[in-house]
Point group: C2
Chain length 288, copies 2
């Protein structure tokens, strides 16, 4: 297991962690001030300053992209909706490629309409079927431009509105169904927040192996958790045994970035970016 | 699959659903007014009016108990804590027996201190070990008085503070480890709120079979869900395909009560008991 205690060369900052800072150029500048070597930006933040400007900033600061957030959201009520989703995923692949991201992260979606608060269906089976087909179609294109796709299993509390893929086992079953060769073109993003509770986590990480482990995200599960979406904790402030899980991931062959992704409306998004980054670096070294 | 549309003979009311009504005698009176045949009371509500008075009320109104809530909370930081938990579970078994409950429901517990908001440990593995041992010890006593124990896998969002058993598969693995004969003394309580998202649900219900399926709880998953604990919905108001899951449970041999358990601080707990019960009965007939 790599020693993170003496530097932060393997630290990546998911730019959602710094939403309080405003636009992506300000976020990148803050990361540069702290010697951050990698980021994972969100599409809306990239759109905010433009793809070309983002690419220029990334080059100027010699930043790697541990991932690009995000593709997915495949399920829809009809063929037109599914086609719209596929077109959008194709654009996401192109953007990820333009920024030389390590992978495009897929939050696969679930019941159509649910994310907007008005589910149009209760059929998880239909949603899973759309997800399978959407990933398969997107993979075909992503392969042609050599952009790996990382399915992110989300915590089951997001099963209605964000992702109907909720365990590592389920995500890996999907990978095996769509990409049986295990080429490295399709894999998973392991976010400790989503999977820490799973009694099969260690075994499924081992099953994933190096070819399927495309990203590793960290934050912490706070006790109590006051909001289903935006009350994630800084590493060390919650109950997840992050280093234990990183040990499993590295034992399986992963040697990439440790990406900090914290949604925290009431705390970290209200703190200055420099304080957030100082804390991320300190915790990366001490508890990740 | 039984036809629930013409009456509510298989409807049970978990008394937490009527917390807004006050004491257990008022709750029982409300259930009696609506021809409810079964309840599942909570220990604190029973303690509020006394076990003997509860037993008398249950007899007077000819009520069955679909379950008794609840035993469990086994993990502790030391042997004294674990012994205290076992003693408390023995009392819960005795109370369940005094009330002729169909089973004692076990919410198994997780990280010590977490339920009070101050976790003393992050070790899920230790918690799971305490849970295994606690159930095994409690089963020995429960068997001697013929009180079945029903492990309730809770939604993974409760993995830190309420239960480190979070899927049907995990609960059934525990059952098989502790009670390999499948005697019916140890099984599971299937609450659709906790398990609806699970891609392996249908297969694990089939695996459980008649001997392990000791209770069936219903409510609904609201979109959006505004609180992790107390924002459960009335059947039909959310996205769970309840009838589909009941079909699986009955196909596996379950033929007991359908127990309504709704924690709803901002809505149902503020409505009059008669309105809540009228709605439960209507939804039991139309969507369960």
């Amino acid at each position: 297991m790599r020693d993170f205690s003496t530097d932060h060369r393997w630290l990546s900052i998911n730019t959602a962690t710094l939403r309080g800072e405003g636009s992506l150029d300000r976020i990148v500048a803050a990361c540069a001030r702290h010697g951050i070597g990698a980021i994972a930006p969100w599409r809306d933040q990239v759109a905010g300053i433009g793809l070309e400007r983002t690419a220029r900033l990334v080059r100027e600061h010699d930043l790697a992209l541990s991932g690009y957030c995000r593709g997915g959201m495949f399920p829809a009520m009809d063929a037109a909706g599914r086609r719209t989703a596929l077109d959008d995923n194709r654009r996401a692949v192109d953007e990820a490629k333009a920024l030389s991201a390590a992978c495009l992260v897929l939050v696969v979606g679930s019941l159509p309409g649910a994310l907007a608060g008005a589910p149009l269906s209760k059929d998880l089976f239909a949603a899973r079927s759309d997800v399978h087909d959407g990933i398969a179609a997107t993979l075909e294109y992503a392969r042609s431009v050599a952009m790996p796709l990382a399915i992110e299993p989300l915590h089951p509390m997001y099963a209605a509105d964000r992702a109907c893929v909720n365990t590592m086992e389920q995500a890996l079953d999907l990978c095996d169904a769509i990409d049986p060769t295990g080429s490295g073109d399709l894999g998973v993003a392991v976010d400790v927040y989503h999977v820490w509770w799973d009694p099969k986590l260690e075994a499924q990480i081992a099953r994933a192996g190096r070819a399927r482990l495309l990203a590793f995200h960290v934050c912490d599960w706070l006790v109590p958790t006051r909001d289903l979406l935006e009350d994630r904790g800084m590493m060390g402030d919650g109950v997840i045994e992050i280093a234990r899980i990183r040990g499993w991931v590295e034992a399986a062959g992963f040697s990439g970035w440790s990406e900090v992704e914290i949604f925290s409306r009431e705390h970290w998004w209200k703190r200055p970016a420099d304080e957030v980054l100082r804390t991320c670096i300190e915790r990366h070294r001490s508890v990740v």
